[in-house]
């Protein structure tokens, strides 16, 4: 099947304006601005069943519909922070198919009445930002951005904004704080961005991949998109596959594809053809799924993955084989979260610091059974108390790792 998101894999030089235009580029944006009311655009997206690709899977059209129309101006922010370990799809999209992404930003902006949109990129993506700046300039010159677009009264400008190296700035409210020039720390929610966002104004925050879907949905209509994927999760998803597979990489597949197909058909199977042991479907923030036959045959959509005691999240599938100790995985992830905890709230700030001492001790063989118990207890003690989801994420691998792979912990520990 032809790609919808990773179309550059089918069409060479799609990241140049003439090629993109020759392939129908900006027709959807033009159609929206010149022929549709903003709420009609939102309705199409709503009907398509498109859900957010940033992790939470929130229905995109519904989010746009939440924008507070008694408070102006409105903003659109594309979340290109892509900091989840194991996630590397947004970068490929922005480099390979930048115009489709930017067109998605533009259509979203039109749909919510925004005249300014920001693309927030993680600091390490400075080259991508420079590249996008160039593409944005080309769009301005070609009349796809700027004042009075297509002869209407609608104006739009897109700006890129770089972060400074914090995972937490992928969380939408921390991201907004960061754009405002403040410390990247999450805000209390509610209020949510569609009522109180950038500079306190209604704001839509969407992931890069989410927005990249939008031009083709508008061009081919909602039903076309809904016919792809599953009833629960419409359309296609770019799965970032990594870990102990032979061919790691991004694979664009319809929702509902099984783990087995992703890992074996596309990923070429496990290195040295060893047995697969566990799957983290949402990067470091994942529960660790026991990779038994049933799991491998489970379709990858939001609802089905949940039946395995996991979450699809941003679909960054990290595959673990039997050479990998789960205590090592847990130590790794806690290292990451301890480093990335913003420190705003007590349980995450103190809990991750505490857990890191424990995972380190356990992994290095210095711990004992009571340390494992304590680790589990500390993680559970954090759950349900943190200010944002990062604190919750940090506990996922710990709690599920200890529960589902107890032998990896008992082997390591002294009696």
């Amino acid at each position: 099947m032809a790609h919808i998101i990773l179309r550059h894999r089918d069409i060479p030089e799609l990241n140049t304006l003439p090629v993109y235009q020759r392939n129908g580029g900006f027709a959807a944006f033009k159609k929206a601005v010149t022929g549709m009311k903003p709420e009609e655009v939102t309705a199409v997206v709503k009907n398509s069943g498109l859900r957010g690709r940033g992790g939470a899977g929130f229905p995109t059209g519904m989010k746009w519909g939440f924008m507070d129309n008694n408070n102006w101006p409105h903003y659109v922010v594309a979340n290109a922070d892509e900091s989840e370990p194991g996630t590397f799809k947004d970068r490929e999209i922005m480099e390979g198919n930048p115009f489709q992404f930017l067109e998605g930003v533009a259509i979203a902006s039109y749909a919510v009445g925004a005249n300014a949109a920001y693309v927030y990129l993680r600091g390490e993506f400075w080259q991508v930002a420079a590249f996008l700046d160039q593409k944005i300039e080309e769009m301005e010159q070609a009349g796809f951005l700027g004042d009075k677009l297509f002869g209407t009264d609608y104006s739009l400008r897109i700006y890129t904004h770089l972060g400074a190296g914090a995972y937490i700035c992928g969380e939408e409210t921390a991201l907004l704080e960061s754009i405002e020039g403040k410390r990247g720390q999450p805000r209390l929610r509610p209020p949510f961005p569609p009522s109180f966002g950038l500079y306190g104004k209604p704001t839509v925050v969407n992931n890069v991949e989410t927005l990249t879907n939008v031009p083709l949905i508008l061009e081919n209509d909602a039903d076309w998109y809904k016919s792809l994927g599953t009833a629960d999760s419409a359309g296609v998803k770019v799965f970032s596959l990594s870990g102990r597979v032979k061919k790691p990489g991004n694979y664009e597949l319809p929702f509902g594809t099984t783990f087995r197909e992703l890992i074996y058909t596309h990923g070429g199977g496990i290195i040295d053809d060893r047995p697969v042991k566990g799957i983290m479907a949402a990067g470091a923030s994942s529960s660790i799924i026991v990779a038994d036959e049933k799991a491998l045959d489970t379709p990858m959509d939001y609802a089905s993955v949940r039946t395995l005691g996991g979450d699809l999240g941003s679909a960054s599938v990290i595959v673990l084989d039997d050479t990998i100790g789960i205590d090592w995985v847990v130590n790794k992830t806690i290292h990451f979260f301890k480093h990335e905890s913003c420190g705003k709230c007590t349980p995450c700030r103190e809990g991750n610091y505490w857990m890191q001492h424990l995972t380190e001790r356990i992994h290095s063989g210095q711990g004992d059974a009571s340390d494992v118990e304590l680790l589990n207890s500390v993680a559970r003690q954090m759950q349900g108390k943190c200010l944002c989801a990062l604190g919750e994420f940090a506990t996922m691998a710990v709690v599920t790792g200890i529960e589902r792979f107890p032998e990896d912990f008992s082997v390591k520990t002294r009696v």
């Binding site: 914090a166 937490i168 410390r183 209390l188 301890k338 480093h339 990335e340 905890s341 913003c342 420190g343 705003k344 709230c345 007590t346 349980p347 700030r349 103190e350 809990g351 991750n352 610091y353 505490w354 001492h357 304590l374 003690q381 349900g384 108390k385 943190c386 200010l387």
Partner: protein, 814 residues
């Protein structure tokens, strides 16, 4: 009024306005939900997660919109997670469980998390005994640590954020109260967080560090011993301290304070003041103080204080007895035949001033106020009405600040006016240069020094500003002495009074003088008046100078005093004036005696003796009674009696009693009780909120329209400068310079010039120039300010240069 909702907290049913946060609704019925980051004066942030409670809400039937019933009662659904009581607003039918096992477990777990990084060095911590974390650890903490002691994070324990505030990095629990106070309340975001996660750290952004005159407040609201003042650091254990209610004597705001005292071996067993703490008065200072008020009390314990009466014998002052000194002084006053001048300052209490005024009247002499600021006759008439409260001002109120640098002249008013602006009040600042309040003002009017009256007269003609003044529901006008002397301020006051005259007597309306001294307003009310030619008034007279040092301030006045017939000086220290005196009478500091001050808002407030008297010193009113007795005038010699005489003599005080001044009322937020975690270590007010003086309007009198006098213009010629006085919070004044702590904040004398003007002089920032004015020449260093006009030179008062008002000066580079 907001809609009321009914809810249940810990099985108690209450009603609260919709939108009230659970933590405050609970507080209102005496239930303390533990908090760390929440503070009732600041926006909730939900960071520390200490206030976790179970929250249930009625299940609503989607079809009917009515609550689903179960056994006739609404069925309540509790969320799977605990919620933070400090961020969750109450709603109809809500059920809150703060004491349930689940809630307690959540709270206990948060305390355990906090303790993993906390050093628990309570035995050496200044906060010990009044520490929210210590208290909540006793209540919620685990008996045993599950965290390995060896894995504790160790951090620097002595980090000076500025010279007044120290940070103990280990103790900080990252609640951000200090940061948010500086940002939200002080409007000076000079500290912030650095780094993230467990490495999160408080840093200062300014050089010098923690550059704010409100810094001390952060130590009160810090819920742990992470922030301490260099004044109290390792000074005492809090449970050894006694508290005495008092009022700050440094400026006309009249902040309510507490002196914490203890008997100290280091001080030869004397009882000494260990620290100054805020005492809640929501109508005056809320729970805040400025650093001058907090730290500038040390002058009272300076060993150089006068301890015995002195009498001049053979041209030399010699120690004497009270009987002898009073007899000599009284005798001279009696035999002066009415050629008597009592010269006193607003540093004195109402009682002191009343006795002095009575003495002057009894002898047929004059009672002169030692000040360079006029207009008190007008504030006595058009002053703000009873019930005035900056804390209640918001939309609909206009506040005009004319010729006053509130931040330096009356810091807590700056903070309160800023707060009113945040709540929607229209603040107009009219001044000859930029002041810190400009940033929070809706309108800034910049005039050339000298054009004050013209500017104020013209305000009503301005389109938007005029509208803001005339159609304001409430109008408060504060006038100060930025760039002005006695005549200028008197005229300015008259111009300002015109704006408010129809409103006099109404709460939140009227005129406020931003006086240089705490009790100038009281002095005016009691009948003291300044004179614009003090030198002539002094010459040949029998002069009784109290709490003033004219000879030290101005060589011309020193010369005049030398020509006086007889000089009696009543003081704390051996001042230049005391050097010239024939009799010197040692006065008690106000910390050593009872009395009352009248604030700039015309609120009379009591203060109480906190420490024993220094040496043989006596209270000013008592000394005056002693001297008066020898002069044949009978006066009361106890504070209470003097006050009784005052209220029957001075109409503005009619009806007041010490008991009335000592009355208290429930204040919101509730602070200072057992739960230090809610409001901080601020003291609850149990000794009196004070009371407003009676206004003319309330007495049924009509005030005549104030008249503006013509003033002769000062126009500097080519090559000359118009030097104008401005106020600096930390000056070389008697009460400031004796505090070691504040020395570095005083600095040396300066002159502020426009950068272009400085360039013309050939002097850069920090370089020395020579200034000559009023017959004196001195070297001062240059500061630059783009907002002053080119031929103006700003000179801070009280920094050694005699400048009582605008004057033509010469400047040259050295």
């Amino acid at each position: 009024m907001r809609k009321q909702v009914r809810l249940t907290i810990d099985d108690r049913q209450i009603t609260a306005p919709a939108g009230t946060l659970i933590v405050n609704a609970a507080k209102q019925i005496g239930i303390d939900i533990p908090v760390f980051c929440y503070h009732p004066k600041m926006e909730p942030v939900g960071m520390c997660r200490m206030c976790l409670v179970e929250v249930g809400r009625p299940i609503i039937d989607r079809n009917t919109g009515q609550p689903v019933l179960e056994d006739g009662q609404p069925k309540i659904q509790f969320g799977p997670k605990l919620e933070t009581a400090c961020t969750t607003p109450v709603s109809e039918g809500m059920v809150v469980r703060g004491m349930s096992e689940k809630a307690k477990a959540g709270q206990n777990e948060i305390v355990e998390f906090l303790l993993t990084s906390h050093p628990l060095d309570c035995p050496i911590c200044d906060k010990g005994g009044e520490c929210p974390l210590q208290n909540l650890t006793m209540e919620h903490g685990p008996g045993k640590s599950r965290f390995l002691y060896d894995e504790k994070f160790h951090l620097e324990k002595r980090v000076p954020l500025g010279d007044l505030i120290f940070l103990d990095r280990e103790r900080c629990i990252q609640c951000a109260r200090c940061i948010r106070f500086q940002d939200e309340i002080a409007g000076e975001p000079v500290i912030g967080f650095y780094n993230r996660g467990r490495a999160t750290d408080i840093v200062t952004y300014t050089d010098p560090g923690f550059d704010s005159v409100f810094s001390g407040n952060t130590t009160d609201i810090c819920p742990v011993g992470a922030l301490t003042t260099s004044d109290f650091r390792f000074g005492a254990r809090t449970w050894e301290l006694k508290s005495t209610a008092s009022v700050c004597g440094q400026c006309p705001v009249g902040c309510n304070i507490v002196f914490n005292t203890r008997r100290e071996a280091k001080a030869d067993g004397r009882i000494v003041i260990k620290r100054v703490m805020p005492r809640q008065n929501e109508q005056v200072n809320e729970i805040w103080l400025c650093d001058k008020g907090r730290f500038a009390y040390h002058y009272t314990e300076n060993g150089a204080r006068l301890s015995r009466p002195l009498v001049k014998k053979n041209g030399k002052l010699e120690a004497s007895s009270w009987d002898e000194a009073a007899a000599i002084a009284g005798g001279k006053l009696r035999s002066a035949d009415g050629e008597v001048v009592v010269l006193a300052s607003g540093r004195l209490s109402n009682e002191d001033l009343f006795n002095l005024k009575s003495l002057a009247d009894g002898l047929g002499g004059k009672a002169l106020l030692y000040t360079q600021m006029g207009g008190g006759d007008l504030t006595a008439r058009f002053g703000v009405g009873a019930g005035t409260n900056f804390g209640e001002m918001g939309a609909g109120t206009t506040i005009l600040v004319a010729a006053s640098d509130l931040y330096n002249e009356a810091p807590v008013w700056h903070l309160r006016v800023k707060g009113a602006a945040k709540r929607g009040a229209t603040v107009i600042v009219a001044n000859g240069r930029e002041t810190k309040l400009d940033a929070f003002a809706k309108y800034v009017v910049r005039y050339a020094y000298g054009d004050e009256v013209e500017t104020i007269n013209g305000l009503q003609q301005k389109e938007k500003i005029g509208e803001a003044i005339t159609s304001a529901e409430n109008l408060v006008v504060l006038f100060g002495s930025d760039g002005l002397g006695l005549n200028g301020t008197s005229n300015l006051a008259a111009a300002c009074a015109e704006l408010v005259q129809g409103r006099a007597g109404k709460p939140n309306n009227g005129l406020i003088g931003v006086w240089p001294k705490a009790n100038d307003q009281g002095a005016w009310e009691i009948g003291f008046r300044p004179t614009d030619d003090l030198s002539s008034e002094l010459k040949g007279k029998t002069v009784y100078v109290v709490a003033a040092d004219p000879a030290g301030d101005d060589p011309q006045l020193a010369a005049a005093l030398k020509e006086a017939k007889f000089v009696i000086a009543q003081e704390l220290f051996q001042t230049a004036t005391a050097d010239l005196a024939d009799v010197v009478l040692p006065a008690q500091a106000y910390t050593e005696r009872d009395g009352s001050f009248t604030s700039g808002e015309r609120r009379a407030q009591r203060f109480y003796a906190a420490v024993p008297a220094f040496g043989e010193s006596q209270a000013d009113y008592a000394i005056t009674a002693l001297v008066a007795d020898a002069a044949g005038v009978e006066l009361a010699d106890s504070a209470g009696q003097v006050f009784e005489n005052l209220v029957v003599t001075v109409e503005a005080f009619a009806g007041l009693t010490y008991e009335i001044l000592a009355e208290t009322a429930e204040q919101w937020p509730v602070v200072g009780r057992g739960d230090m975690y809610y409001g901080g270590t601020t003291y609850e007010n149990t000794r009196g909120l004070g009371a407003h003086l009676v206004g003319w309007g309330e007495r049924g009198e009509t005030a005549s329209r104030p008249r503006v006098q013509e003033e002769t213009e000062l126009r500097p010629k080519e090559g000359q400068w118009l030097a104008v006085p401005v106020t600096k919070l930390y000056d070389q004044g008697l009460t400031v310079r004796s505090s070691k702590l504040l020395e570095s904040h005083i600095g040396a004398a300066t002159v502020t010039l426009h950068p272009e003007a400085a360039k013309r002089l050939g002097a850069g920032a920090g370089e020395l120039v020579e200034i000559s004015l009023n017959g004196t020449t001195a070297q001062v260093s240059v500061l630059l300010d783009e907002t002053v006009s080119a031929s103006v030179a700003l000179l801070p008062r009280g920094m050694g240069l005699p400048i009582s008002g605008p004057v033509v000066a010469g400047l040259k580079k050295v």
